[in-house]
Symmetry: C2
Amino acid sequence: MARVVVDVMLKPEILDPQGRAVQGALGRLGLVGVASVRQGKRFEIELEGELDDALRARLEELAGSLLSNPVIEDYVIREAATQGAPA
Amino acid sequence: MARVVVDVMLKPEILDPQGRAVQGALGRLGLVGVASVRQGKRFEIELEGELDDALRARLEELAGSLLSNPVIEDYVIREAATQGAPA
């Protein structure tokens, strides 16, 4: 049983109005000194078996097409601890 | 300059229809053996200074109120490497 985390974030050169809104709100609510906020998506995928090379290759393909929009987003795939807190 | 990542996920007991839809799509697109998918949010926050105890406490408060809905979501805060790939 493997657990895979895929983080999808807007590419650095893409404006993130949602992140800017959060940044403004954090400032108004008293968190000073916030230089920037970017908001993205996080997918936690549990697999029934282990993460072998074939599965990893297919997951890479799908992370770059289904889970993210390659025109504006980057993704990072990593294997996480199977149980407990998010890694 | 500190970089903080806040991951916000639905609590385990809360149904995640968006994650279920992604799980179904992954299966249809040829990724077999996916036991579950949960989708959440990821915030990357860059601070102008260092993350001291006072700032961390305020950030904890805001992560539990502004960035997440404590009724249905859990959050995890961690300090990340300042530069490079998402941690």
